[in-house]
Amino acid sequence: MTAVAAPALPKRRSLYPGWFYAPAAAVYSVLFLAPTLASLYFSLTRWTLFDATFIGFDNFAQFFREPFLVQGLVNTVIYAVVTSGLKVVVGMLLALMLTSEIIARGYLRSVIFFPVLVSTVGVGITFTVLMHPTQGMINQTLAFLGMAGPGWLVDPRLALFSVALVDVWKGVGLATVIYIAGLVAIPRDYYEAARIDGATKLQNFFYVTLPLSRPATATVITLSFIGGLRTFDLIWAMTKGGPGFASDTIASVIYKQYQAGFYGLSTAGNVVLFILIAVLVVPLTMFLNRKQGHE
């Protein structure tokens, strides 16, 4: 605002006309915002799709009585933290590797990025077959090496983490690409200055690379953390929340309520998930952005 207002020609403002928002706003508000707002009402009803009876906050009370919701809540947070954490660490390491003068860079970049482009359902089916406790290739290989492989998707303690690993396998390429963009954008002068100051490689990383790639980190964390909290496709393709309820996340709990025809209850679950995301993500992005502002 300040920069634009200074020379003060009215024509200048219209360089960025407000109506540029219009087409996006129209589609977005009709097909996304309106149903979302409507869901606030329907979450307070017992809804059979045929008619909706207003029942106040009963659905929310019910939702918190649901014995698996607490488990689902914890699972959701674990899943989001594990996947986004691994994507940040592994994505950063891979990006460092791919921006260094390593051989076969093109091949490595392609191979790491390609899973991002593949169908989630297809990946889910493939890994379900690979992770089969007795017939799967992973455990057959382990058995060949003389190790007893775990029940990746059937052990209730492991199932959630197995799915999370597949999620990282599929998604780390995007994080890597974002980081590569971030790393390449760091002006050479900084490294030049650091070199003159006699910085070691490690110091280079902690004092130049890490702080200056914070915008990339913010993007990776925000996208993968929210993605992790909302994740549904992969869990549904691989375990459907099982065994039992061991890998249920809120999104899959909501979906099951929806499947069961508890439309009001499921919509209430949407609202609960929304609140959870808001409570976790808003402070997180504020934190990331404030740090960014300090640079």
Binding site: T48, F50, H132, G244, A260
Partner: protein
């Protein structure tokens, strides 16, 4: 065996010719969409029906649409009905799930259609709402019980168990012989419910009014000792170590293959599995037998039965007459014969004039005595009560894999059931 089958086929086609000769006068024309679930059995039989019907009525086009089964399929059916986008004719469950799709508002009644005369009253009662009949049987009746491998029984000299104790004793011997005694396939969670659902004959034997009380919120799985037994049985087979090593990941086709080829001895399942065995492992069909899930006393040994799924006509159809004619064709003896040809015979039909071929597989002939006059059978709970909790299959996976105890699982299921009852707006919840 092939010869008898051939005769049965010839008989069927002659009958078909005779009926079609009668029907020529009323040739139909137009377009229908026909929504079915994606099970191979459903697809095969639907394709056979459509082929036969359109051959008789060349001016009719019938488009088969396929949806997933299970909960996702339920959801699609409900959504499409509610939005008026349902196929003209569709295939769906009878009993409690039928009640949940709001039949009086969404479906076309067929109470007085001519083919309904041949349909058994016991079936009509599970596809009726508000005094009207809406459904026509899509398949034969089924039993829920235990498939067993006849080879293993012969080899180890085992008797068909009539009590749970005998069943467990058999399991012990099978395990001692180094074989898998009980097959479970939690890779497809719905298969985990069988020990609980198929125990309902035994529940009713102990508490004849359980279903009414259950619907009225007066009886609970956790507090009724007879009803709790189903969960306990599931826990017992797990704790005794009778299950196949990959029970957590194995799928329904795996389970059928195991019991048919003798990789395992017992597989609790609905008898529609016979059709799938006949299709995928025809050579092993004769190795599979069937018995009802045993109760605690040999005096009350009987079969829990399932009414077949049904064909319905959506009220939104633009060609109701053609739809009725097609459904009537499915619900005729000719329709049954086409079914026998396409997927084989899997149980007794609910339609007068529908015959089973003379050479039914052993698993079917094992089941038939329970259905005959004086036979011991009782309908599954879902046909006596509209209340069925959606999370049962997850809970039975937990109990069946030792994650949760039988008592906890039953209590959790009671909680799950309450939601369904409230959603249906039942009194007393």
């Amino acid at each position: 065996m092939t010869k008898t089958k051939l005769f049965a086929l010839m008989g069927a086609s002659t009958l078909g010719l005779m009926i079609s000769a009668n029907a020529v006068s009323a040739q139909q024309s137009g377009y229908l969409s026909f929504l079915i679930d994606n099970g191979p059995q459903s697809v095969a039989v639907a394709e056979a029906w459509v082929a036969a019907y359109t051959e008789k009525n060349p001016d009719v086009t019938i488009d088969i649409e396929v949806r997933p089964g299970g909960g996702e399929g339920d959801n699609i059916v409900k959504t499409r009905l509610a939005t008026g986008a349902m196929a003209d004719v569709f295939f769906y469950n009878s009993g409690s799930l039928f009640q949940a799709i709001n039949p009086t508002q969404n479906l076309l009644p067929v109470t007085n259609e001519p083919w309904q005369e041949g349909v058994q009253e016991s079936f009509k009662s599970v596809v009726s709402a508000g005094g009207e009949v809406y459904g026509t049987p899509f398949a034969p009746a089924m039993g829920g019980g235990i498939f067993y491998n006849r080879g293993i029984y012969e080899e180890l000299g085992l008797e068909i168990p009539t009590t749970w104790e005998e069943f467990m004793a058999n399991n012990e011997k099978i395990k001692a012989a180094g074989k898998t005694a009980v097959i479970q396939t939690y890779g497809e969670t719905w298969t985990s419910q069988l020990f609980v659902l198929a125990d309902f004959y035994n529940v009713l034997a102990a508490e004849p009014d359980f279903a009414e009380k259950f619907t009225a919120n007066e009886a609970k799985f956790a507090t009724s000792p007879a009803a709790l037994r189903g969960f306990e049985k599931l826990q017992e087979v797990y704790e005794a170590g009778y299950l196949n090593a990959d029970f957590g990941a194995a799928t329904y086709p795996d389970g059928l293959r195991m019991v048919a080829t003798g990789e395992g001895a017992h597989y609790p399942m609905l008898t529609f599995g016979i059709g799938a065995i006949a299709e995928t492992l025809p050579d092993n069909l004769d190795d599979v037998g069937f018995f009802a899930q045993p109760g605690d006393s040999a005096d009350s040994n009987g079969l829990t039965t399932w009414m077949p799924d049904s064909v319905y006509i959506a009220k939104s159809t633009s060609s109701p007459d053609l739809a009725k004619d097609f459904v009537g064709f499915i619900g005729s003896p000719e329709g049954c014969d086409i079914r026998n040809e396409a997927v084989g015979a899997t149980g007794p039909y609910m339609i007068a004039g529908c015959e089973l071929p003379s050479d039914v597989p052993p698993a079917v002939s094992d089941m038939l005595p329970y259905f005959q006059e004086g036979g011991n059978n009782a309908p599954a709970l879902e046909f006596l009560s509209p209340v069925k909790g959606p999370a049962l299959e997850q809970i039975t996976v937990e109990v069946g894999s030792g994650i949760r105890s039988a008592a906890d699982g039953a209590a959790l299921y009671d909680e799950d059931v309450r939601k369904q009852a409230q959603q249906l707006g039942l009194a007393g919840w």
